[in-house]
């Protein structure tokens, strides 16, 4: 085992190395750049035995990964913001082709209103592409999730690509201590990728073909099934990883003091870690509050949300992103998960931290206090609150 103190972006590079990725294709974009720069160093110095293609755009990066993955090797790319949304077409193609590509996404706002800071709208707007999506709260989780996710995606019952999302600068450029397990143990947990089918000149197959209306729905159904399988496998893999290496991250949802909580703060990413501090402070003031950090957004942990709702009186959902014309992404999914359920808790949505604005435990305490007022009144004052919006 090795203890390092480094930025999440460098940790991503070390995770790619630990996962023994074989083909990397990437295009630089702030704040992802230091991932691909560190990987270039690892590849060129021979520490990581992989091919690294310096493509001329993200669309090409994803396309190159698809080619390599179809050839049966473990592939890797990483991007942010405009790079991710430029990939959109290829994202659908990768999931439809059932290629287990893993891609860290360093979350960054979209322009115009040109902005390089953290915002989930880039990856959230890709939620319907058929990609599995994880969101991390700290550097250790970034490392562990990348290793876990290769195991998940390459599972025959899944065979889907996955994004591992981490917020720009807040994680990407922040130094934190991380334990990197011994390589033999990682190799044992994550054996080499052995695809059942791949492009092989001796057993030729024709990849990504035309499918008539007679069968198209069945192929789509299989993707949905794979997502459901992933939902089952994610907690199992997280537990198994914990047994191997001592770190678990809560499976689909990382829950903190939710058992007896009346008010639950639903969060994602680093807002989830801040929320834990807020919860501790508010509990000292006698507020029965907990926080649940949704770690996996696709497949969405609908059943776990329902379980959480059984004992809670209210959910305050904090979103670092907005689906214009509706509300925060997580708020939307939470409400959808609870439809047709008896005794639903009250739900209020809070939009916070767009374009990198700080969301501190103080901000979260304010959100919780407002929510608990509404909880006591038995009525939500406003469906969606834009936190600290300037006039």
């Amino acid at each position: 085992m090795q203890n390092v103190i480094d930025t999440a972006n460098h940790i991503v590079a070390y995770a790619a190395k630990a996962a023994r990725v074989q083909v990397i294709a990437a295009y630089p974009i702030t704040p992802q750049t230091s991932i691909v720069e560190r990987i270039a160093e690892l590849v060129e110095s021979g520490e990581l035995n992989a091919e690294y293609i310096r493509v001329e755009s993200e669309h090409s990066a994803m396309s190159a990964c698809m080619g390599a993955a179809a050839g049966g090797v473990r592939t890797f790319t990483a991007t942010s913001s405009h790079g991710l949304v430029l990939m959109h077409e290829a994202l659908h193609w990768a999931s439809g082709s059932r290629l287990p590509i893993v891609m860290p996404v360093v979350n960054r706002a979209l322009g115009p209103g040109w902005n390089i800071w953290a915002d989930f709208t880039d990856s959230m707007s890709q939620r319907d592409t058929g990609w599995i999506q994880f969101y991390c709260a700290e550097n250790q989780e970034v490392f562990d999730t990348i290793i876990q996710v290769y195991k998940l995606c390459e599972n025959e019952r899944v065979l889907l690509p996955a994004m591992v999302c981490l917020e720009g600068f807040i994680l990407s450029h922040t130094y934190m201590p991380v334990e990197i397990p011994d390589q033999e143990k990682i190799d044992d947990f994550l054996p080499p990728y052995k695809p059942k089918w791949f492009l092989d000149v001796n057993k030729p197959i024709s990849h990504a073909n035309i499918v008539s209306p007679e069968w198209y729905m069945e192929f789509r159904y299989m993707i949905q099934e794979a997502m459901e399988n992933a939902k089952q496998l994610i907690p199992e893999i997280d537990k198994e990883y914990g047994k191997y290496f001592g770190f678990e991250h809560g499976g689909l949802i990382d829950k903190y003091k939710c058992e007896d909580a009346d008010l639950i703060l639903l969060t994602m990413g680093t807002i989830g870690s801040e929320a834990k501090i807020a919860v501790d402070n508010l509990r000292k003031e006698g507020l029965k509050v907990g926080t649940a950090r949704v770690r996996v957004f696709r497949p969405f942990p609908r059943e776990e949300i329902r379980k959480l709702a059984e004992n809670a009186q209210m959910f305050a959902v904090i979103d670092r992103g907005i689906s214009f014309g509706m509300e925060g992404f997580l708020a939307e999914e939470t409400k959808a998960s609870l439809s047709n359920q008896k005794d639903q808790p009250l739900i209020a949505g809070f939009i916070a931290g767009l374009g990198g604005r700080d969301v501190t435990f103080k901000t979260i305490e304010k959100i919780a206090k407002k929510s608990s007022e509404w909880m006591r009144a038995g009525k939500v004052g406003k469906e969606t609150v834009w936190v600290d919006l300037r006039k």
Binding site: Y27, P28, I29, T30, T33, V36, E37, A40, E41, E44, S45, R54, E56, S57, H82, L86, G111, P112, W114
Partner: protein, 277 residues
């Protein structure tokens, strides 16, 4: 021309974002000087369009003019829309080598092919400058960059010659060490019609120079001066020798029907028919 001239009359009162010694200052200065010498008191006859990158910051928001920033690599398609709407205006695109002939190269080729009437000024600093110095399709062979720590292993693209092959009416390459030739070239290009391309090999001391082994901007300009050769000189040189050189000059100057001329001609003809029917 000895009159005192300041580019400030064309600029908003904003602090420019470029690093000390950056070649972009020369390009900006030279372009505005050319505009001045052509007698434009202001930029009201121009529209500027740029993508993402340091060089894309030249016109917007600094020029007192209409300008539009687009996503990385897509300035030429946006300029196409502007030009077809307002054929009377000079549409000028500024961008870096990554923007224009990396991620956006297909637009570059197609605009030259269909002879879109725009001027594209490409600042070729041979690197992705704004993102901190990763290898670009224009990076010289064997150059050290952040993504090629042991030297680049791909051959660089010759954008000025590509423009000729694709159908440009004007294509020229200069370096920031030849600001006078550059200025005359810009003046000529502004007065011409059709797809016009000017590539300016430029120093990026911050993201390119440091890793490539140059101490400062001055050393890079010296390198440009010593290695810039004319097209005629280049014709007499062997390939290996040429690899170290920067070939400068005008690669083509010609007249072809422009996109909006052909489009508007068809519209006029068909409209005329309808009237007779």
């Amino acid at each position: 021309m000895t009159e005192t001239f300041s580019i400030r009359k064309y600029l908003r009162d904003l602090k420019l974002p470029f690093c000390l010694g950056c070649g972009i200052f020369t390009v900006m200065n030279t372009f505005l000087r050319a505009v001045h010498e052509l007698g434009h008191e202001n930029l009201s006859k121009f529209v500027f369009c740029s993508g993402i990158g340091c060089s894309a910051w030249i016109p917007s928001p600094y020029f007192i003019a209409d300008s539009i920033h687009t996503t990385h690599g897509r300035s030429i398609p946006v300029a196409t829309g502007i030009k077809l709407l307002r054929p009377d205006l000079n549409v000028v695109v500024f961008g870096g080598d990554g923007d224009i002939v990396g991620i956006g190269i297909s637009h570059f080729i197609h605009a030259a092919r269909r002879n879109l009437d725009v001027l594209v000024v490409m600042v070729n600093n041979m690197i992705y400058g704004m993102t901190g110095g990763q290898v670009a399709p224009t990076t010289p062979f064997k150059t050290k960059t952040t993504t090629t720590p042991y030297g680049s292993f791909e051959q660089p693209l010759d954008a000025a010659r590509l423009a000729v092959t694709a159908g440009a009416c004007y294509s020229a390459r200069w370096t920031t060490a030849q600001s006078n030739e550059l200025k005359e070239s810009i003046k000529k290009a502004i007065k011409m019609q059709g797809f016009r391309f000017i590539e300016v090999v430029s120093q990026c001391p911050t993201s390119f120079g440091r890793r490539a082994g140059f101490k400062n901007a001055g050393e890079m300009i010296k390198w440009f001066k010593e290695n810039a050769i004319s097209i005629e000189q280049a014709e007499r040189m062997a390939e290996e020798e040429l690899a170290q050189k920067i070939v400068v000059g005008e690669f083509i100057r010609r007249k072809r029907l422009t996109l909006h001329e052909t489009v508007y001609e068809i519209i006029r003809r068909e409209e005329g028919k309808n009237v007779e029917d």
